[in-house]
């Protein structure tokens, strides 16, 4: 247990007041319209949403996860965190296309890309799915904070789950996305500084960087310094085939939309940027910072490994980075450290509260229930949606211990069978709404079968995760490709409007020719 001095409590209280206050200050801007409450009026320079990308993807559970894979695999474990690489291509492909569509959400984008009943079904489905996922992530991150508080102060889990998320909700309810992004900016700075301080302090406590490297050699663990320390091409815990699959999914996923679960919060940041150029740089720079942060963490975790090489339980070594801070920082700095943890935590909470609420407001209420709603009403529905998500997250968080496996499964659904259709919808004009919808439905069925049901009955062996990915992708393609060709293409006029506005890349020849014929674009 950690004992705080007066100075520690001072830091903590001061930072929480600063964080909440800086969000609430933007109350007047946030309440102006739906566009302000959810996109900050589409007027932000690139560095603001970039800091939000960074802050959002630095959650309470992130250092635990990075600690776990780096402690176990050394620098090779960093590749587990490299999924953020989808932004490397997305910044210059799908981010541009999405920003130009002007859709508030991915669900809305579906109805711009696909018409008729299939477009509407997709919009409703994606919106509902995102409300569920955001509530789930809020519960997941909330309970991680509960665990940190229990580890530090011995508090019951519910205190960490409820107190900080509720404090965060004050400014999300008041100022919407304006509050989120402005608070994220200063939370991102606080978190980044503290990550550097704690990590380098930890390395220093282990005897310095040179000593850490030397000790790893002496311990016969020099392989942990090699980022390409594979256990063979297919065999062992860390095969090259897994690495190549991850690179394939991560990097090429940037060509599409919705190929990674992080696409959805990023889409909101892309749309809030003031220009297409700002949209591109915001996700590129934000993700570059995420990757650099992971690199710094990895060095610190290796320092921890040198100090504590004999931890075998995941629950012990996944707290490595937190332990570096709490066991080594001097009194008076601990409060600063905990304030940074709170910053890390609520920057993620605020994003998912506002993100879930935009789907409730824009895609469910505004689109289906009250298309003529006034701006004031829409802002209030956004606030009510935020409140629903907050309460739902408490319920999910309180039962999360039992359903972690379900969450991993739910996230897996997002990646495997939907990955290729997520790309095809951007790069291939002939891919239609029924094809995409069939991919979602078939993936729900196949993922259950491949991951749980068939292995339970001994029909299929328990496959490694990257084997599951390839199999689910193949099975999905066997459904959505025939469905696409057996159903009509999207209406050409709709496709032309979409093409002229968004200018997607890939196989759009017939649509482009029609747009030229109609005089909407010129041949270069």
């Amino acid at each position: 247990m950690v004992v705080f001095s007066f100075l520690d409590w001072f830091w903590l209280v001061a930072f929480v007041v600063l964080m909440v206050g800086s969000g609430v200050r933007f109350y007047r801007l946030g309440k102006r319209s739906e566009s302000d409450f959810f996109l900050a009026g589409r007027g932000l320079p690139w560095w603001l949403p970039a800091s939000s990308v960074y802050a959002t993807h630095t959650a309470t559970d992130t250092p635990m996860w990075v600690s776990g894979v780096v402690y176990r695999f050394g620098l090779s474990g960093l590749w587990y965190t490299f999924y953020a690489a989808w932004c490397a291509i997305s910044a210059f492909v799908s981010a541009k296309i999405f920003r130009r569509s002007l859709a508030y959400t991915q669900a809305e984008w579906q109805s711009l890309r696909f018409g008729g009943m299939s477009g509407e079904l997709l919009r409703g489905w994606v919106a509902g799915w995102q409300v569920f996922i955001n509530m789930f992530v809020l519960g997941w991150v909330g309970i991680a904070m509960g665990k940190v508080c229990m580890f530090m102060f011995g508090w019951p889990l519910w205190i960490g789950l409820i107190v900080f998320s509720s404090a965060c909700a004050i400014y999300v309810l008041a100022a919407g996305y304006w509050g989120v992004v402005m608070a994220d900016f200063q939370q991102g700075i606080i978190a980044f500084i503290m990550i550097l301080i704690v990590s380098f302090w930890g390395i220093h406590s282990a005897g310095g960087a040179g000593h850490v490297v030397e000790r790893l050699h002496e311990m016969g663990q020099a392989g942990k310094l090699n980022p390409f320390n594979f256990t063979g091409f297919f065999g062992g815990d860390f095969p090259a085939a897994w690495f190549l699959t991850m690179l394939f999914i991560g990097i090429l996923g940037g060509l599409g939309m919705g190929t990674a679960i992080d696409w959805f919060p990023e889409a909101q940041r892309i749309q809030s940027a003031r220009t297409v150029k700002d949209a591109s740089w915001c996700i590129w720079a934000g993700s570059a910072l995420v990757i650099f942060r992971n690199a710094v963490w990895a060095a610190a975790i290796l320092a921890f490994f040198v100090m504590y090489p004999d931890l075998h339980e995941v629950r012990d070594y996944e707290m490595a980075w937190f332990r570096l801070g709490f066991e080594n920082l001097p009194s008076g700095m601990l409060g600063f450290f905990f304030a940074a943890i709170v910053a890390i935590h609520i920057s993620t909470i605020s994003t998912h509260l506002n993100l879930g609420a935009v789907y409730i407001t824009r895609d469910l209420y505004h689109h289906y229930m009250n298309p003529k709603a006034r701006q004031e009403q829409l802002v209030w529905v956004g606030r009510i949606g935020t409140g629903i998500l907050l309460l739902g997250s408490f319920i999910f968080g309180s039962i999360m211990e039992n359903i972690t496996e379900w969450l991993i499964f739910a996230l897996w659904i997002m990646a495997a069978g939907i990955w290729l259709p997520g790309i095809l919808q951007v790069i291939w004009w002939r891919f239609n709404g029924w094809g995409y919808l069939s991919a979602w439905v078939s993936n729900l069925v196949f993922s259950w079968l491949v991951v749980w049901v068939l292995p339970a009955f001994g029909v299929l062996p328990e496959l490694k995760d990257y084997h599951q990915f390839w199999l689910l992708m193949l099975l999905g393609a066997l459904v959505f490709i025939p469905v696409t060709f057996l159903t009509k293409p999207e209406d050409m006029n709709k496709l032309v409007r979409f093409y002229v506005m968004s200018r997607p890349i890939g196989w759009w020849g017939p649509v482009r020719r029609e747009a030229v014929r109609q005089g909407l674009i010129e041949e270069v």
Binding site: I203, V213, G254, Y368
Partner: protein
């Protein structure tokens, strides 16, 4: 004439060109270099500084290649954005 084009009209910038291809190849490499080079540099390993430094150099190169094109796309699009937003509100309306 330089290898990469620096002056773009909005209409030219709409098309996929070799500048885009170079960017989407370099960009993931930069991320990899930041990740690997950053971790090794934090451990004061000489290779790490070299890899990280190369990543920074490549990043500057990439910005120089793609930024003029992104600026031209933005300029062209921003002129139309207001009209597009009005059209969007009509197009996505569930009922009139």
């Amino acid at each position: 004439m330089s290898f990469v084009k620096r002056d773009w009209t909005p209409r030219q910038a709409e098309e996929w060109t070799k500048e885009d291809t170079i960017t989407v190849i370099i960009s993931p490499l930069i991320y990899m270099m930041i990740l690997v080079g950053g971790a090794m540099s934090a451990l004061l390993m000489a290779r790490g500084f070299v890899i990280f430094g190369l990543g920074i150099v490549l990043m500057i190169v990439m910005i120089n290649i793609i930024n003029p094109k992104l600026s031209a796309i933005s300029k062209g699009f921003e002129e139309k954005q207001k009209g597009y937003i009005e059209e969007l509100e009509k197009k996505v309306r569930w009922e009139d």
